[in-house]
């Protein structure tokens, strides 16, 4: 049986690879130190699979916009070659896990959460960047789940939470012996392409992380509505929805360990990093 061994949440702001020298060195150093420490932690866990949950940036979801989309392909190119120069990331072929992707679809159907699937997902920074900065090696396979945070008709935070629960159940139901980590990325406050472009809402970010660190799932679900996220930057802050999937996977009321919060105006983003211990998982 597969086992969920840890849940992580990170920012995926593209400046972290595209313009690494834009912030003052102390800030940039503190960000890369967190990545390094999380990467070490992840390598020590020796995961066989990462289920990566993050949002589409309009590169896939335009003519057709699902709430969630699981990547069922045997391999995934991360990032897509057309985004490589902009992100300063070399595309690499990452092995997928169709069996687990199919299991997630099966459990989601049973639980009544609509999820699309695709074998042709184009990847930008959302998972490519965290996997690169965490130095995830080729031995670790990836099941990507793209989400709709930025388009219209987005799923609610409760639906994202439910998605995380479904992923957790699917892992538990998979017969293969696999060690699985759930990695959810995006946010926190930022507004690229919106009227608050460049601005960071630190109050929003700190309140969110404070509740998260105390395992206040219900308060987070009631306070962090789509309207509140939009008010903190409609062009990017709703990516914080992906963190609700992390909460759902980690279990209701499970407090997160906040590893860092670094507001970086040069990357126009409040960057958050967290992990959840899972009792009995040896993580």
């Amino acid at each position: 049986m597969a086992t969920l061994i840890s849940v992580l949440a990170t920012a995926h702001a593209p400046g972290q690879t595209a313009t690494p020298h834009a912030p003052i060195p102390e800030k940039a150093d503190s960000v890369y130190a967190v990545w390094s420490s999380m990467g070490k932690y992840l390598r020590e866990l020796r995961p066989d699979v990462i289920v990566g949950v993050s949002n589409d940036h309009f590169q896939n979801f335009t003519a057709m916009v699902p709430p969630f989309c699981v990547g069922t392909a045997e391999t995934h190119l991360m990032p897509d070659e057309k985004f490589s120069a902009q992100l300063k990331l070399t595309p690499r072929l990452v092995e997928g896990v169709p069996d687990l992707a199919d299991k997630i679809l099966e459990v989601a159907d049973r639980e009544g959460l609509p999820i699309a699937f695709s074998e042709q997902i184009s990847f930008m920074d959302e998972l490519s960047l965290p996997l690169h900065l965490l130095e995830v090696g080729p031995e670790c396979r990836v099941v990507p789940i793209l989400t709709n945070c930025l388009h219209r008709n987005r799923p609610s935070a409760a639906s994202f939470f439910h998605l995380g629960e479904i992923v957790s159940k699917a892992i538990a139901e998979l017969p293969q012996e696999l060690r699985v980590v759930v990695l959810c990325t995006g946010g926190l406050s930022h507004d690229p392409t919106g009227p608050n472009w460049g601005l960071i809402d630190e109050d929003f970010d700190r309140r969110f992380l404070d509740l998260l660190s105390h395992g206040k799932s219900d308060s987070l679900l009631s306070e962090f509505t789509l309207d509140r996220m939009d008010a903190a930057g409609r062009g990017g802050t709703p990516e914080t929805l992906n963190w609700f999937a992390a909460m759902g996977a980690a279990g209701r009321g499970n407090p997160a360990e906040i590893l860092a919060y670094v507001p970086v105006p040069e990357w126009s983003t409040g960057l958050g990093y967290a992990r959840w211990a899972l009792p009995g998982a040896g993580a």
Binding site: T62, H151, R152, G194, P195, W197, G198, S268
Partner: protein, 105 residues
């Protein structure tokens, strides 16, 4: 009016051939979309502010803004003005510093 159709017209400008056609002959490019005359006119004029007021998603407006070579400051000024938001000096300062840093790379 169809926000989805406006968004499609903007997103497709990310394709080089479509962008070139739009820049050469906007009305020919826009003829393929089911748009009102007013919507066509706003897109042809690069009026991201008017389109933002219609609720078009920002990602689509960004694609249109890039077609018109708006820098981030010009783009944000248009959006904030249309949405009746004050221009913030700290934001403009930041966008200028970021633009300068990018040029220096």
């Amino acid at each position: 009016m169809s926000r989805g159709e406006i968004e499609r017209a903007c997103f497709e400008l990310r394709n080089r051939d479509d962008k070139e056609l739009f820049q050469r002959d906007p009305q020919s490019y826009l003829a393929r979309f089911r748009l009102s005359a007013e919507e066509r006119s706003e897109i042809a004029a690069g009026d991201v502010g008017a389109l933002a007021k219609r609720g078009v998603v920002f990602g689509a407006l960004d694609a249109l803004g890039r077609t018109f070579s708006y820098d981030n400051e010009a783009y944000v000024r248009r959006l904030r003005s249309a949405l009746s938001l004050d221009i913030r000096d700290d934001q403009i300062d930041l966008l200028r510093r970021r633009a300068a840093a990018k040029k220096g790379l």
